[in-house]
Symmetry: C2
Subunit: 331 residues, 2 copies
């Protein structure tokens, strides 16, 4: 049972002054005399007075809560993103409410409703694989709640977006592979439905088509770790490519399992390059060369965008986080 809290009314009765005076004293309103302020504040602190947020929120229609909606938190990217947003949010007086869509459209929609009912003041979202209709987000935004897409973003205009430099990242990887003289490339991407996959794939392919026409590049879309491992196992039986590109950590993990199983030496027998948030590639020996896409930095960037919108700076724009190549010894 929640215990009865102190209220302005109680304070005012104890002090023999009116509720509004107490309220104003507590917020350092210039009208109130120094003496009264002191009296009020002292009593408030001895009584551990805390304003009732429910009442404040009803009155002000402000929750100071920001929502984050991601496919899952169990991911070596979103957790960094969330962490960054949380840190920034706290600094600015906001709290964070998190929900997972589990990559299901139905859950995504019901969670948006929960977040709206909780009166979030802004939403960060990375859409589910199944999402096609952006209406729920549009409605949210139209009702005054800014929406910032990140990572998996809506392929429509009219929303703020914080993106990784997907195209640049894929290009950097392609370029690195070509520069090392690799000609027989296995390129693995994630779910073909996602914008992030489309961008990386198109950019990677385009770069090879333009700059190394004689290369033999094979493309697959194995989504997760186990699918990647199986795929590679099969491929390695026939012919081992001289290099593998992995669009994400999970694919990399699968590939490395297959590499170990086939007892291939990196980089002597096979070169590996990936795109990653950072930790996983550094666990292998030699460390895997990767194009860094920092979830943490992206979170900071996304918060900046959100904060601007929150403060009435209504500019809708796409912010892109630069990618850098982190050289390991795998290429």
């Amino acid at each position: 049972m929640a215990i009865q809290q102190n209220t302005l009314k109680k304070l005012s009765e104890l002090l023999g002054i009116s509720i509004s005076t107490v309220s104003r004293a507590l917020k350092d309103h210039p009208d109130i005399s120094v003496k009264t302020k002191a009296r009020v504040k002292e009593l408030a602190s001895t009584l551990d007075y805390e304003p009732n947020n429910f009442a404040v929120q009803l009155r002000t229609q402000q929750s100071n809560v920001l929502g984050i909606l991601v496919p899952t938190i169990r991911n070596y990217f979103y957790d960094f993103f969330i962490s960054a947003v949380e840190e920034e949010a706290v600094k600015h007086g906001y709290s964070i409410m998190i929900m997972q869509s589990c990559d299901k459209l139905s859950l995504e929609i019901s969670n948006i409703n929960v977040l709206r009912r909780n009166k979030i003041m802004g939403l960060f979202v990375s859409i589910s694989i199944e999402t096609e209709d952006m209406t729920p987000f549009r409605k949210l935004q139209d009702s005054g709640v800014p929406v910032v897409f990140f990572d998996r973003v809506a392929e429509v205009s009219g929303f703020s977006k914080a993106c990784l430099a997907d195209e640049a990242a894929a290009q950097i990887a392609a370029k690195s592979i070509i520069e090392k003289g690799k000609k027989n490339v296995l390129a693995l991407f994630g779910h073909p439905h996602l914008s992030i996959t489309k961008l990386r794939y198109a950019s990677f392919k385009n770069y090879f088509d333009l700059h190394s026409k004689d290369s033999n590049v094979t493309y697959f879309f194995p989504e997760q770790a186990e699918a990647s491992r199986q795929l590679c196992s099969e491929i390695f039986k026939n012919k081992v490519p001289d290099s593998v590109f992995c669009m994400g950590d999970m694919i990399l993990i699968g590939v490395m399992h297959a590499v170990h199983e086939a007892k291939l030496k990196v980089p002597e027998d096979i070169s590996i390059i990936g795109i990653s948030n950072g930790l996983i590639p550094t666990l292998y020996n030699p460390k895997i060369t990767y194009v860094e896409t920092s979830g943490f930095k992206l979170g900071q960037l996304a918060f900046k965008q959100m904060y601007a919108s929150l403060k009435g700076n209504e500019e809708i724009e796409e912010v892109i986080l630069e990618s850098i190549l982190v050289e390991g010894g795998s290429l």
Copy 2:
């Protein structure tokens, strides 16, 4: 700007009936006639009526929000825990508010205050390294907000706790090492201040003292990955132990870096065993043998405890999640 929402008042005016009738119709109150209910519900749905949570909360003094306070989300354990809690919470109509203490006491305290002001109905917490005084948690619980500690728990009674079987996990590891005939053991633990470290250390040491007195076990407390790597590098220069025990993933990562640098073969030159949530040990080749401590399962367990408290079942108890040995090829 938040756009004006529909309210009960508006509906009642449109329908020409009173606010209270509308309110009751919407909640299927038995007093209201079927006809009226139908009319009300139809209008409500065409107008996309949604109750104003601020008002509901003020009236009912219930937020249906649960808080989670962890040192950091950027961790391959807490994210699983949070994910599980979120999934369960959604099923039961609760939302999750997350805050990070960054292992700083000051942030922990201010975040507790934020959570309290946000009127959370329950709190899951894994304490910071600096935390010693449990008063803030006690006060929260005394004011009717159940607190469930997990992972890093308070070393005092009177709180619900959801723990990993720390002692059992350490014992399983110790037993495995002894059974493999390893006699020259390097045992690495985390921050000595934490209950989790104390339990694992005491149990591990105790098991060796009892069951293998002639073993030569060296203990260190290197906290994070880089410290572990450095420590091992130094140790390996003098004498390579026949086995290493790693209390957590970060320590394991550091150890494996040192192992690779020293070009030691696992398990021929050195055996490795750890305690882990699961992913990291499986990335190495051979996979590292580890005692599993599932953050996801712990989250489900902790939620069950919380839910019982929320529903008035006031029993305070310590729940322990069983550990199991997952054999890789490193021992």
